[in-house]
Symmetry: C2
Subunit: 908 residues, 2 copies
């Protein structure tokens, strides 16, 4: 560590962009801007103290390496030479800013001190060179406020009571001054006011901290540097690093840079700009500026900034002069810089600039943030412009940005400022706003009058489905991510929040109370189903941008790069068609039980209930015969819609007791139809009750105990296929057995498969029906015994929902009691139901794949849990060698993007 | 396969005992008896056709190898020479038996034909040499019956309707003959009756099977051999092999042996004997015999057999002459053989003998079956006699035999003949008989009158505990192996059957109906809690033989051989003391929640409920303070009772909702005590309801969300320890965190541990409390991340109940719906809750151990699930390198034995 300080400015720099680890993001970027041959931007000169110094500082009891002092002073001299000003000079003083800059941006987490070098002595010099006494005293009072707070109080570790810190007390003095003068804005205090205030400030500092505000510029400088290093271990920074997984050892760099002033006259200004429009992605220079102002004034929003150019005008600023017109020469200089920056960085840049007495300084350039629409548009047009290649274009858009594009959402600007009323589990994506109702009937009624409604229920059940369909969104107090409401909503891509425990619903009074406040039927709520937030009132919505040429172009580029196939979870011909439009290449999960979760008619559910409560094989066979046509109809339609693409049909999976009727009327007609007494029916229903249904009598276990149930379903698949083949269609059904833990279960089910297969061939007089026979991998034991299981199964589909439930011992319906605490305390870093737990569950998946493929080399492997639509999980699926992922239709575009990104990362 | 036939007899034999695979068990044993230099027993000469011939026979479409015929005839000649009789000879005919004999005994599963060689011609010779016409015709009619059934019908694959088989028809003819004569016993038919019957038999055979009964001795012989080979593939044999895991490829041998006759006069006899008493293990010759009878007559039980000697006399046979007195010379010869056999086989032998005209023939010797008491006694005394070494002694007793010794059981002889009324889950071991009652109150009331009761309930809950305590046994219709009833009963070692689904209880009428039959309060039931069988009526019981010197000696021998330590699961000082008496070397599982499962007082449960429904930290802390003394009292007592032996204390584990009150009265007083309304209490209780409580808010998850709950428990442990140390006692508490899935959970709990530890040291002014901090391994993910977890945990204890539940996705409370079918269909070969599933769950255990020890070399590892008392699982625990197993106090002796046997098997 011989070199501890890196200089930049005057068209030269010691560092460069690639030295982020040493110089921090900010420092490396300043060096790049100032020194790179293609840029050589007019950056205010300065220097960066390396992160190694920070590490040394903490390892050596907050002491600096010996050589640091000399290196800092040498570089300060360089600045002085370039600027023609001197640090501490009474006539022509140099002021500097002291800023942090870690390897990775930690916005707002660390400290900054501006105007360092301003003392009683240099104050006079500043007045002289700026001819602006008010500016000088304003700068001085800013320095006192910041320095006393950041350096003298915080970095010294002084703790004060709430509201008694030095900064608060100085702010109070300033308020008093304004009050006395009868003004409201800081800007209305004149030079004399500020001058007096500076005296009061220094007295107050002495009073509160028992120390004089230092009047030595070097003392200010070194203490400010120390304060920035100290802020690396500040509370906020430490907890931010824990959340973002930033190692403590990285440390921060410190940037000492010339202060330039946009607020010393009408020939000065400050502004921010984007090299392209961050809101829609158009390739137009977009920005705003303020004459005679400092950077923070732009951000503070007290004065309305003026537009950079005609393109940047809007309702608010339309009457203000553009920079293009008011300072045409400087605007042209800026335009030139814009082009150079995009060519150099190959991306849209967000820049900050200051004009000091007609001289342009570039304060910062960084990759500009953008919304989803803009991200897609920019990626695609930069690809066209050959500014980037297709790999970069694909990596340029995050899956979250794509998601933003695919659903209506609450306007993020408004949402950011709104406090949620309650928080639940994010069960259905996107945003919605509507009037709350408390029953499915009300929902149907109100929506006939075109009123947008949000259906609010304790829990939903199949009897609520009509109301759920017409609602803008569904909100439940109970239930988890696998509850009825969650399953239905996800299938429809509808906004839904479940398990929102703070809702206390009174369905009789038609009221809900939340934290002591009461809301009535008809009150407006807005929901963010992607994050699980419930808001009061009718927040403004942004509509989705699904029909978008750029999106199509981007996704086609993704398709050319990915290895993973993308399938969809779909249960009806309509879903299947929609998913194909989204680009699905097959169905990875068709649930035979889907229809019982609610379609218009109650008929199939009624018949299912008959089957469930049947006691003898004969009773059950009769009920199954009645069910047959319902099951077959959607299977046939779906196979036809997919036109030869693979369709994985999962045999009945959930515990039967889920379907037992709740309402007395249902019990009644069911008992009558079965010719048994209500008591007998209730007894049978009670027998289906389970303590832990998720680990109970479900999936293949039903197929083993009631082989006729398996037989009916397989017959529905094969007869559908046979009829389509007969009429010249292509089909590829894949029959999938759920909840398997042992090879022998599959052998038993395969026996039924083989029997039905030959019966169907005979019945339709055909030679062959193409099909595969496979299994879910969702029980931990199955992944361990995958080698045996692959002797029978021709494909595996990982059911990572159940695998996560059983691998963690977390019931998804019951995690509400502890998982939030686990995430808050960083016991787990992510909700394993949102993203695959790669350490634990991931290892089970790897076992399943390795052992399965050892037995059957070409075993087809996919995933059909909800993780199949989650980008990090998709990347994992790619890495471990799956053949496809399957997700809900609305996630297919995101999966296409994520799969392409996974393939690109893999190649690196 | 040049040699296909092995001869034995006349003091010589081609084979020997070690050739079981080739000659079958019986054949090898006959060879050993006849030919071994130390034995040379008077075995009726014969020969064995090898199992290889059987295999050849099946591989070659039921044909024999060419050379077989010649080898059989050559060996038949040898027999003829030894016996001085000839096969098929009209004057002095040789008769033979043809018997199966597989590598492993398959009792009653295969066929036998006796008296082969008896034809119209040889019949006369038999009459001549035996001077007993009745005997000869009786032998002939037996031959016709057996041969027509076994050879002509079964082996030929002829199927007849129920009751229309040839044997049934012949039996009917015989019944008619007896009826005509007005007699009831076969023995009352005289020579002429039998002669006529033989004619009728042959006509009937011709009529039914459309074939003559063969009159050629060789035809009889070859067909009988073929019939025995065929019976290897008979239905019974095949299904027996599937159950016993005997490969089909082994095949059976066929033994052809001279017929000797114990029924040709008063100088003839037949008998069975044991070289020691199989009922109590005494080293006394024990047996019985019948003069003028064949072996089957002894078994048939028509005549009362006479005692072998004075020692063998009992109430029934006391008046009959002993063999010792009636045939002293032969008795002495038998005694000599007895000694030789024990010396040769080093074990108690079960022998069959026949005396034909004052000449002794040994028909069979095999290791004698014995009951538990005898097994232990024999092992210990043979060890003393130096007949066996201590390794053999330990291997000589099966864990099942030991179990038999430790509990009262239903007399097995009676149970074998009794049909169970119902079957449930075997939740508490041993047998019991009593009168059924339907409520805990009735149980208490009746038992005051000294009436033995069986408490019959839908399910039990903590309010039933008094009634459960006084009952002989507990029987429930619902609930699984982790239900309240099961947990309580196992802790007490009480007979208990749960989840007996066919019970339809009407608690109001005080009736139970089972398969349409109704039983009332006061009716007698008998229960086998080891197997889960419920019987009607009062079956006779055998009392346990716990106080037994031999047992102590055996277990001490075990202790000297085993590597695994044996701990116990105990929750009270009383349990701890009892377990130490059984030989426990520590406590592997002390559950802090135990007291709430029912001890006399309701007080702790009430306080627990207060804690559970507390809503604020303050409410909860108040409730915890009240609970503290209850938790501490038993911990302290237990630590003291164990006197420095390790005591693993598991912090609270079950889902809280298990403890929510069911009865209105309980709700009432609870609400009052909390100062809240019943509605509020009900709301709070409803919030605790979980969909899948086994995977819900339990174990460490409670400790994370309510750190004060962890703190209270740890404080109870450490303050107990501190107080004992202060009073000069030794303690070694091990604090165990349940339901852990991640290292970070442990880190959080350890922080509390460390904090309380230093507080307690300070409070008691002591320097150190020895303790360990560890975790359960019961979540699949934990076993995979065991390497990380071992950074914090100083010991692991495998909770194989939960690991099996989650690894299989089997809720133990809900397996009743499918597991019986899985076992019946051989999808699983054993109930994984009874014995560890070594393929799947076993691999998770191995991961846990390997990864844990990789991080922490001396990691202490044990098991505290119920598998810890199951012999096969104990063997597995030994193999994978655990340090100890822990089981219920009553299983400790069995675990000591099983651990020793595991160590011995390991050395092999």
């Amino acid at each position: 560590m011989s070199r501890m300080v890196y200089f930049f400015g005057g068209g030269k720099a010691d560092g460069k962009a690639s030295m982020k680890n040493l110089l921090g993001g900010k420092g490396a970027n300043l060096a790049e801007m100032a020194g790179h041959k293609d840029l050589k931007l007019p950056v205010p000169p300065g220097f960066t103290i390396t992160t190694e110094v920070c590490t040394y500082y903490y390892k050596n009891k907050n002491k600096y390496p010996k050589a640091l002092k000399e290196q800092v002073e040498k570089n300060l001299k360089k600045i002085e030479a370039l600027m023609g000003r001197n640090f501490g000079d009474a006539d022509n003083p140099l002021l500097v800013s002291v800023r942090s800059g870690a390897r990775k941006s930690m916005p707002g987490m660390m400290e900054t001190v501006l105007n360092v070098g301003l003392t009683e002595r240099t104050l006079k010099g500043l007045i002289k060179i700026t001819q602006n006494e008010r500016f000088a005293y304003d700068s001085y009072r800013r320095l006192i406020m910041m320095y006393s707070d950041v350096v003298m109080e915080k970095a010294a570790g002084i703790e004060s009571e709430e509201g008694m810190g030095v900064r608060k007390q100085l702010e109070r003095l300033m308020s008093e001054a304004k009050k006395r003068k009868g003004v409201t804005n800081d800007t209305e205090l004149d030079a004399q006011d500020l001058k007096k205030l500076c005296v009061k400030f220094k007295n107050k500092v002495k009073e509160v901290l028992n120390k004089d505000f230092p009047d030595d510029p070097y003392e200010q400088l070194w203490n400010a540097i120390g304060a920035v290093f100290s802020s690396w271990k500040g509370k906020r920074a430490v907890s931010y690093r824990r959340i973002e997984n930033i190692p403590d050892e990285w440390g921060t760099a410190v940037n000492v840079q010339t202060m330039v002033f946009g607020n010393i006259g009408d020939d000065s200004a400050t502004g921010v700009a984007f090299t392209r429009n961050p809101a829609n992605g158009e390739n137009k220079f977009y920005g705003e500026y303020l004459v005679n102002a400092q950077g923070e004034d732009v951000v503070a929003g007290i004065r309305t900034p003026a537009p950079l150019n005609a393109y940047s005008t809007n309702e608010q600023n339309g009457n203000l002069p553009t920079l293009e017109k008011s300072m045409p020469k400087l605007y042209r200089q800026l335009c030139g810089i814009r082009g150079g920056l995009e060519k150099h960085y190959h991306d849209m840049q967000d820049i900050e600039f200051t004009i000091e007495k007609d001289k342009l300084y570039m304060l910062q350039t960084r990759v500009g943030k953008r919304n989803g629409i803009a991200a897609v548009k920019m990626a695609v047009s930069m690809l066209k412009e050959k500014l980037i290649d297709k790999k970069v274009a694909v990596m340029r858009v995050t899956p979250e940005q794509l998601d933003e594009l695919l659903h209506p959402i609450i306007d993020p600007k408004v949402e950011l400022k709104t406090r949620p009323l309650a928080k639940g589990l994010p069960a259905g994506p996107g945003g919605a706003t509507g009037q709350i109702v408390f029953s499915a009937e009300e929902a149907v009624e109100w929506s006939k009058d075109k009123k947008p409604v949000i259906l609010l229920r304790e829990e939903t059940n199949p009897e609520d489905v009509e109301g759920m369909r017409v609602a803008q969104a569904i909100l439940t107090a109970r239930g988890g991510m696998t509850s009825h409401a969650a399953l239905v909503a996800r299938g429809w891509g509808k906004c839904c929040i479940v398990g929102c425990g703070s809702l206390l619903i009174d369905p009789v009074k038609k009221e809900v109370s939340i934290d002591g406040r009461t809301f009535k039927k008809g009150d407006w709520f807005s929901l963010n189903g992607t994050r699980g937030y419930v808001y009061e009132g009718q927040l403004p919505m942004l509509q989705s941008g699904q029909q978008n040429e750029s999106l199509d172009a981007l996704l086609k580029t993704c398709d050319s790069l990915r290895r993973l196939k993308i399938r969809t979870n779909a249960d009806t011909p309509q879903d299947a068609l929609r998913a194909r439009q989204f680009g699905a290449e097959g169905i990875g999960l068709f649930r035979t039980e889907h229809m019982f979760y609610g379609k218009g008619s109650e008929e199939p559910l009624f018949k299912l209930r008959k089957m469930i409560v049947s006691k003898t094989v004969d009773e059950r066979k009769t009920a199954l015969d009645e069910l047959y046509k319902h099951v077959k109809s959607d299977i046939k339609g779906t196979l036809e819609a997919m036109d030869g693409l693979p369709v994985t049909i999962r045999l009945i999976d959930p515990p039967l007791h889920e379907f037992v009727p709740h309402q007395a009327s249902g019990m009644d007609s069911l008992a009558r139809s079965l010719g048994i007494s209500i008591e007998e029916l209730e007894k049978r229903a009670a027998n289906l009750r389970e303590t832990n249904p998720m680990m109970g009598h479900r999936g293949v276990r039903l197929g083993i105990t009631y082989p006729e149930v398996t037989e009916m379903q397989i017959r529905a698949v094969l007869e559908s296929a046979a009829e389509l083949i007969k009429s010249g269609k292509k089909v590829l059904p894949e029959i999938m057995i759920p909840v398997v833990c042992d090879k022998n279960e599959l052998i038993k089910q395969k026996e039924i498969m083989d029997k039905v297969y030959s019966e169907v061939l005979k019945k339709y007089n055909i030679k062959k029906i193409p099909y595969l026979f496979g299994t879910m991998m969702e029980i931990p034991r199955a992944t361990l015994l995958a080698g045996d299981i692959a002797q029978v199964a021709e494909f595996f589909s990982f059911g990572t929902n159940d695998l996560t439930q059983m691998g963690f011992g977390f019931s998804r319906d019951d995690i509400g009691g502890f998982l939030p605490e686990y995430l808050k305390e960083n016991i787990l870093f992510a909700d394993p139901f949102q993203t695959i737990d790669q350490d634990g569950i991931g290892e089970l998946i790897k076992f399943g794949i390795q052992r399965g493929r050892k037995t059957r080399k070409k075993l087809k492997i996919g995933i059909c849990g909800e993780h199949g639509g989650e980008p990090k999980s998709i990347e994992f699926c790619h890495k471990v060698g799956m053949d496809y992922v399957s997700c809900s239709p609305f996630r297919v575009p995101i999966a296409r993007l994520a799969a392409a990104q996974a393939a690109l990362k893999d190649k690196k």
